[in-house]
Structures are given as C-alpha cells and as structure tokens.
C-alpha cells in the first residue's frame, strides 16, 4: 500500500469526516411527531412484553428473582428512554400536540404498571401480589396497543 502524495489523502479524509458529521446530524434530528411517537410506542410495547414474560417466568419458578428484577429494571429504563423521546417533542399542529399528550398519558400508565410489577417481584411484605403485577402489565399492554392502532392509522 503506497502512500499517495499528501493532498489526495487529506481531501479523502475531509470527505469521510463530512459524511460522518452529516450522519450524526441526521441520527439525532427526529423525524415527524408521529414517527417518534410510533417508535416510542413500539419500544415501550417491547419493554412491557419483556416485563410480562419475566414476571410470568418468575411466578412459574422458571426465573430467579435476581434475573427477573434485572429484566424489569431494564424494561423500566427502556420505557423511560422512549418516554423522554416523546417529552422532547415540540409539536406544531394541534393534532400532533393531542397525539403527544395521549402518548404521554399512556406511557405514564405503563410506568406505573411496571413499578407495581417490580414491587411484586421484590416481594417484601405489603408489596402487591404477583397477580396484581401481572394485571397491571396486561392493562398497560392493552392501552399501548390501542395507542399503536391510533398512531398507526394517522
């Protein structure tokens, strides 16, 4: 591999940097409101599904409490990141604002459901039972799918 004279190398390097810079700019800039909301809903649905699976396995004695607690914690973190992406939205049209409001309400509900599930797994006295945890997650999943059809139809 010969070293080509300096100038073509530096021009090639600046081109590469420009591409990367454009790429990161594109990555962070968010698409339309509905795109962000639908991705957020999708990620939250995945997080809630993980929580339901982990909770089911834990109560069925297939999963240790430590692993279940970690899975639920990761799901909560995933939910919070999607919620933050919706919060950061600044919609211009009234419909977008309405969609964002609704999404935030549903995601709020999911976070509450997830917390109930985490408490049930922690299982210290006075904590909700596994059944309540499961019930809360089912509700959250239901509301998420409703929101998904609504946002999807937009």
């Amino acid at each position: 591999m010969e070293t080509r004279p300096g100038n073509t190398r530096t021009s090639k390097r600046t081109l590469l940097l420009a591409v990367c810079f454009a790429g990161t700019a594109f990555l962070t800039g968010c698409g339309g409101v509905t795109d962000t909301v639908s991705t957020a809903v999708e990620d939250s649905a995945s997080a809630i599904a993980t929580a339901r699976l982990a909770l089911g396995q834990e109560s069925a004695g297939k999963l240790t409490t430590a692993a279940a607690a970690t899975a639920l914690e990761d799901s909560l973190r995933e939910l919070q990141t999607s919620r933050d992406s919706v919060v950061r939205l600044s919609p211009s049209t009234p419909e977008d604002r309405q969609v964002r409001q609704e999404a935030l309400a549903v995601l709020e509900g999911c976070t509450a459901g997830l917390n109930t599930a985490r408490d049930s797994v922690a299982g210290n006295d006075g904590a909700p039972s596994a059944e309540d945890g499961k019930q809360a997650l089912d509700e959250a999943a239901g509301r998420l799918s409703e929101l998904k059809t609504k946002v999807g139809a937009q």
């Binding site: 790429g23 594109f26 240790t64 990761d74 995933e78």
Partner: protein, 409 residues
C-alpha cells in the same frame, strides 16, 4: 491418550472462546427481529474467520511474526499507523463492551447494579492477565464458556416448529415490519460479530506466545476447523431461542436480561444457572482476549518486548498499555453508557476495520521471504480473494447503512 485430550481441549476451547458479548447480543437482536433469516451470514462469517485465523496462524508459525509486526513492516509507517489507530480504537471499544458484558452478567446473577461490578470485573481481568499462565487462562475460560451450549438445549426443550425455522433460514427474506436497509445493517453487524479482528490478533500472537512451529499447525487447524463452526452453531442457537420466544412476543432485544429469557422459558432455573455461568465465562474470556489484543497491537507495532510468556518486568510497556486500556474501559463504562449499545457499535466498527488487518495478512501469507514454502496454496488464495471482496463490500456499506437505519433502530 494425551494427544486426544490435547485435541479435544483445543476444540472445546475454540468453541467456548468463539462466543463473546458481540455474538451474544447481535445474534439475540437479530433472532428477535429477523427470526432465522440472517443465519446465512453466520455461516459466511464462520468460514471467513476459519480462513483468516488459519492464514494468520500460519504466518505466525512460519515467520514468528504476529499480525501487527507484519502490518508495520509491510505497509510502511504512514499506512501502518492509520491501521494501528483504527484497530486499537475498535479494540478499546470491544474491551469496554466485554467488561460491560461481564458486569451485566454478574448483575443478572446477583441483582447488584452492574456499575458496581465494573471495577471488580476489570481488576479480575487484570489479575488474570498479570499472573495466570497463557494456556491455563485460555482453557479455563474456553471450557466454562462451553456451558453456553444450554442455548441449544433450551431450543430443543422449547420444541419449536423446526420446519418453520429451517424455512426462514434457507429462504431468507426481510420480515415485513423491518426495512431492507436494517436487514443489511444487521447482516454486517452479524458478520462483524463472527469475524472480529481481535480474534485474529489474539490467535496469531497466541501462536507466538506458545511458540508454535509448522508441525503445531495441524493441531491449530483442527481447533479452528472444528471449534469455530461449532461456535457458529452456538450463535445460531442463540438466534433461534430469540426467534422462538422473543419474536412472537414482540420483544426487540435491547438488554442482556432479555437474551437469557428464552433459556429460562425452555430450561427453567437449572438452564438459567448454566447460561449465567456461560455468560460470565464467555464475556470474561473475551475481555481477557481483547485486553491482551490491545497490548499486542501497540507492542507489536512499536517494537516493544511483549508476551505473557515473559516476566511482566521484561515486557513493561506491554503490561502498562494493558493497564491503561482497562482504566479507559472503566472510565467509559462509569459514565453510565449502556454496554449493549457499545457492543452493537463495536461489532459494526469491527466489520468496517476488517480490511485493514485482513489485507496485510493476505499479502504476507504469499510472501516467500516470510513464509518460505508455506505460502498460500492456490485454492486458499482464490477463497481469500473472494473474502477480500466480501469484507471490502461490508466495510464500505457499513457507515452509509448505519446512517440510513440510525444504527439499526
């Protein structure tokens, strides 16, 4: 009898050593989103790593020169330094991902937050690199990594619809809710996970560490040609478990805890115990290999004395560079950045940087001054040229695809 034991040990270590955090996460993500439709990439990657590892093992055995000495000598300083900085940065990213992986695995076993495990994991890695003999280190982590076979066991216990799985694998098609660009992005990520450059740095430096000669090559060839494909089968099993359990439930893998849920589903707490041991061993073994690789890359390029077979005092800069690498890894992880995210980026950047180390090894493997009569045969060269084209294509397509798909989101 001893010989058979040696051969078996070599194969088992190759299987255990093949899977690392990159394979675990990428295969699980791909399984949970694309089912089995990307399994062909694992096959392409495994054949590639077998070819690449054999070539670099032969270069090391025939000429006693490990990868980065060869790169410096044949590419000259300017191209060599560009090569070194790219490979070292990606290796640093992989070290960070591996140590993060060890911490996440320990969190799963103990539910102590992973951030607390990171310094413990890094210190343990350093202690092993500092004192434990090279072959013992390789064999223990490799054998313990074998417990990841529980993924295959769990897949059987889940009694999946084998016809459907085989159908997806043999007739790959992009699932409807995924775009073609994210399909190809994850193809490159999977290829990068299978053909990680650090495996080759470690493999060729290991040949020099253990003082291989040409007659030892037969043993290494068996290890590679049997061990790596079986390691590939393990990766496919990980993807299979995700495809059978996570895909239908609409779970897209973003954390290590999701990766083990299918094993718990299929094999219960016993299976879970095995997979946790396997996770810790595989990621810990990979953390050792990547830390050593960062030391090897720097020491071999700058001509320092290196190698675990020497007293640490006789390879001072080699050991110091590894200590610094581990400290950087701890610093990056303590900022709270998600290790799984680092892993996803590290496998793609591995695919981008692959030509930088593949081409020099291919050149030297044909150079009679280094290889004497052990130069590449014609069939190996034909296959190697085909793979050069594949590797260049993957490397060039990676960044545009990363931009288009927003890193696969």
């Amino acid at each position: 009898m001893k010989r058979i034991l040696g051969v078996a040990l070599g194969i088992l270590t190759a299987i255990g050593g093949f899977v690392d955090i990159g394979d675990l996460v990428t295969n699980a993500v791909v399984g949970s989103r694309f089912g089995m439709s990307l399994v062909w990439v694992v096959a392409v990657g495994v054949v590639g790593i077998c070819l690449f590892a054999n070539m670099s093992g032969r270069v090391a055995a025939a000429s006693g020169r490990a990868t980065f000495e060869v790169i410096r000598e044949r590419l000259g300083p300017r191209a060599g330094l560009a090569n070194l900085s790219a490979s070292f940065l990606i290796n640093l990213m992989t070290v960070t991902a591996e140590i993060g992986g060890v911490a996440l695995a320990l969190q799963l076993a103990s539910s102590v937050h992973y951030l607390l495990w990171i310094p413990v994991a890094a210190l343990a890695v350093w202690l092993v690199v500092w004192r434990v003999k090279f072959s013992i280190m390789e064999n223990v982590t490799g054998l313990l990594g074998l417990t990841l076979i529980v993924f295959a066991v769990a897949l059987f216990l889940l009694k999946p619809d084998w016809g459907n799985l085989a159908g997806q694998a043999l007739a790959p098609a992009v699932p409807d809710e995924e775009t073609a660009s994210s399909y190809w992005y994850y193809a490159i990520a999977l290829f990068g996970a299978a053909m990680t450059p650090y495996e080759v740095f470690f493999f060729s430096s290991g040949a020099v560490e253990e003082g291989w000669s040409i007659k030892d090559l037969i043993q290494s060839r068996i290890n590679v040609l049997v061990g790596f494909p079986l390691g590939g089968v393990l990766s496919v099993a990980i993807a299979g478990c995700a495809a059978v359990v996570l895909l239908p439930a609409g779970i897209a893998v973003t954390s290590l805890s999701q990766v083990i849920l299918p094993v718990a589903e299929g094999a219960g707490k016993l299976g879970l115990a095995f997979v946790l041991i396997g996770l810790v061993a595989a990621t810990f073994g990979a953390a050792l290999e990547t830390t050593l690789s960062s030391g090897y890359t720097l020491a071999q390029f700058f001509g320092w004395s290196w190698g675990k077979f020497r007293r640490p005092a006789q390879a001072a800069r080699f050991h110091l560079s590894m200590i610094i690498t581990l400290l950087i890894g701890i610093a990056v992880l303590s900022t709270g950045v998600d290790p799984v995210l680092i892993t996803e980026y590290s496998v793609v950047f591995s695919a981008i940087a692959l030509p930088l180390t593949y081409l020099p090894i291919l050149i030297v493997a044909n150079d009679p001054q280094y290889m004497g009569k052990h130069v590449n045969g014609r069939p190996v060269n034909v296959l190697a040229m085909i793979y050069l084209v594949i590797i260049l294509a993957a490397s060039l397509a990676a960044i545009p695809l990363m931009i288009v798909t927003g890193a696969g989101s």
